[in-house]
């Protein structure tokens, strides 16, 4: 069975922490963004970008790379953070988040190397991923995988199920969908606003292999990705339902849809970053732009 070593675990844990840290930095500095849905993906992205995916920051268009599409494109801070950490762009560029000519609020292919598609309106990404997976087949590229991260609330969208149906129809086992099942949407809980259960059964009924994991357990994430990539490559696409906690790592944001779209003021950002560091056992590190940000302008929370 695939198993991360102690060193790998420590390394990936540190990356997940950095993804959270940079996400808060960019959301606080730009005064716009989605903390909850960025934090719930931190471990998923850490394992994808530092263990699972074949990538080369020096050659972002390498033909035999793995492709990742963030269909829940509002999780952009976490994706930009991991791309910066992985060397696709200088870390300083994160402070261009939502700035003119900088990183788009929702992931956009022109924002940074390593972004594979443009998104924003929910429900679209899986179709694009299906098209890419078909394209790889046409090019007889058997090695590359297309990975698509969806939100749970996003699965209210009909387009997701059109894409799911077609991926199974075309036997796209080079396609791995990951649902960041963090249980909360923008204005409430999934079960309350528009329930998606029985969720695993839905995907099964659409012809997918289904893996269900704790999306914050690095060992489980790595094992699921390995299984999806190598074990379940049996003629059907694979979905990993990753049970996560929205805002995981900051008490006031955890499981709290009020932090879906909300930007902290500089002092709150500073406190949040210190809390995240304590929770994951790293030396306390506050908000790097605290003084500069306080001088910069008024804060509106960015909802």
């Amino acid at each position: 069975m695939m198993q991360l070593t102690t060193d790998e675990l420590r390394h990936l844990q540190e990356r997940a922490y950095q993804i959270r840290r940079l996400s808060v930095e960019m959301i606080a500095y730009s005064q716009w963004g989605h903390i909850g849905g960025s934090f719930s993906m931190a471990e998923l992205l850490a394992v994808l970008y530092f263990k699972d995916m074949k990538l080369d920051p020096e050659q972002p268009s390498l033909e035999n790379r793995d492709r990742l599409i963030l269909s829940k494109a509002h999780g952009s801070p976490a994706l930009y953070a991991v791309l910066a950490l992985r060397g696709f762009m200088p870390e300083e560029k994160i402070y261009q988040y939502c700035e003119l000519g900088g990183l788009e609020g929702h992931t956009h292919i022109e924002s940074a190397p390593g972004i594979e598609a443009t998104g924003g309106p929910l429900g679209m990404g899986l179709s694009v991923a299906v098209g890419m997976a078909m394209g790889l087949r046409r090019k007889e590229n058997p090695r590359s995988r297309v990975i698509c991260i969806l939100g749970d609330g996003e699965c209210n969208e009909g387009n997701v199920w059109e894409a799911a149906m077609s991926a199974a129809h075309y036997h796209l086992d080079n396609l791995i969908a990951i649902v960041d099942y963090n249980k909360a949407m923008a204005k409430g809980f999934v079960w309350d606003l528009m329930g998606i259960e029985p969720f695993a059964d839905k995907w099964k009924a659409f012809g997918w292999n289904v893996l269900e994991i704790d999306g914050h357990d690095l060992q489980e994430v790595a094992r699921a990705l390995y299984t999806a990539r190598w074990v379940k490559a049996n003629g059907s696409p694979v979905v990993i339902i990753a049970h996560t906690v929205k805002g995981k790592g900051i008490e006031q944001a955890e499981f709290n849809y009020k932090w879906h779209t909300h930007a902290p003021d500089p002092e709150t950002a500073d406190a949040m970053l210190r809390e995240v560091a304590r929770n994951y056992g790293y030396p306390e590190e506050g908000y790097s732009k605290l003084e500069k940000a306080v001088e910069k302008e008024t804060f509106y929370g960015g909802e």
């Binding site: 022109e110 598609a117 694009v128 991923a129 299906v130 098209g131 009909g158 387009n159 077609s166």
Partner: protein, 324 residues
């Protein structure tokens, strides 16, 4: 100009043939169908290149998303459906998955405007020109004849980025010979004149030529300008022609809200205001009916165009008198 008065081949037939021609030239072309290929006339492509024909079922949002994915992987996808479903059902996917990243997807919209089947207002699409024209990065063309369509398709493949072009279920006499070449943002003067300009696009250009014939009987010299490239539009030719004639009629097989008429009016309003009358569907759905019956109902016949020309000529004369 080679005029073939007996043409009975519909645009969609020419579309099917050209698709095969382009498919032979460019192995990257992939045709995506949403359960309509016998209506859109892509059956020949399917038979010729079965492995480059992708059926996605009745799922237009997925159709355009898949097209985006294939374009990202270097293919030249033609996601095909009725214009109504492209511009209504899948607009968000076209806007954000295709136009925003500015990728290489060529969208043929079938069953445009008035001349379709008897399917009615749900299927007869009048807003596609307006909707597609409003999307950044999108180029929009409405061919005036089969050779025009063929050249538009060739140019579309040779032009990087998203393109929307219309494939109307209708036959008109051929406007062009094989030497014809289509260019983005370039109109064509099909008939020179000095009294009024008739700006046409799509099948309405042929009606403009017929209207010019009607006007000639009354000793009125109408200039007929074909603007297949609705976006970008030929600002220069529009202004030059209006300077010559001093008034204009626009004619499109679509709603007058946001399409060719508005595009021409915008150019003229900013550069050289002259009296303009727009011919097209006026804020109504095109319900079931016979084709010629519907053209008459929506006041889009050659006679309607000629009447509109007389009207703008009178307005021009009146404003010239007032100026004196």
């Amino acid at each position: 100009m080679a005029e073939n008065k007996t043409n009975t081949e519909e645009f969609r037939d020419a579309f099917g043939k050209t698709l095969i021609e382009l498919g032979k030239e460019n192995p990257k072309i992939v045709f995506l169908d949403a359960d309509l290929h016998t209506s859109t006339k892509a059956t020949g492509f399917k038979q010729t290149f079965p492995d480059r024909f992708v059926q996605v079922g009745i799922a237009e949002q997925n159709l355009f998303g898949i097209a985006a994915g294939l374009a990202f992987e270097g293919f030249v996808p033609f996601p095909s459906t009725f214009a109504a479903f492209a511009s209504r059902r899948a607009l968000d996917q076209i806007a954000i998955s295709i136009c925003f990243p500015n990728i290489n997807v060529k969208i043929p919209g079938s069953y445009c405007g008035v001349p379709t089947s008897r399917a009615g207002g749900s299927h007869n699409c009048i807003e596609d020109l307006a909707v597609m024209r409003a999307l950044p990065n999108m180029k929009v063309a409405d061919p005036g004849s089969n050779e025009d369509l063929r050249q538009i398709m060739k140019t579309a493949v040779a032009t990087p980025g998203p393109v929307y072009f219309r494939v109307t279920r209708y036959a008109v006499p051929e406007l062009f010979g094989p030497e014809h070449r289509f260019e983005w943002g370039k109109g064509v003067v099909l008939r020179p004149g000095s009294d009024v300009t008739l700006f046409g696009t799509g099948v309405m250009t042929h009606f403009c030529l017929e209207a010019a014939g009607i006007l000639a009987e009354q000793a009125i010299q109408a200039e007929v300008v074909h603007l297949a490239s609705v976006k970008p539009i030929d600002n220069k030719l529009i202004v030059e022609s209006a300077l010559r004639t001093g008034c204009a009629v626009t004619a499109e097989n679509a709603t007058i809200y946001g399409g060719l008429g508005d595009a021409v009016s915008q150019v003229l309003a900013e550069a050289h205001p002259v009296p303009v009358h727009r011919i097209g569907v006026r804020d109504q759905f095109v319900e079931s009916g016979g084709i010629e019956e519907l053209f008459a109902l929506h006041q889009m016949t050659p006679q309607d165009i000629a009447n509109a020309a007389l009207q703008v000529i009178r307005k021009k004369a009146k404003s010239e008198q007032e100026a004196i």
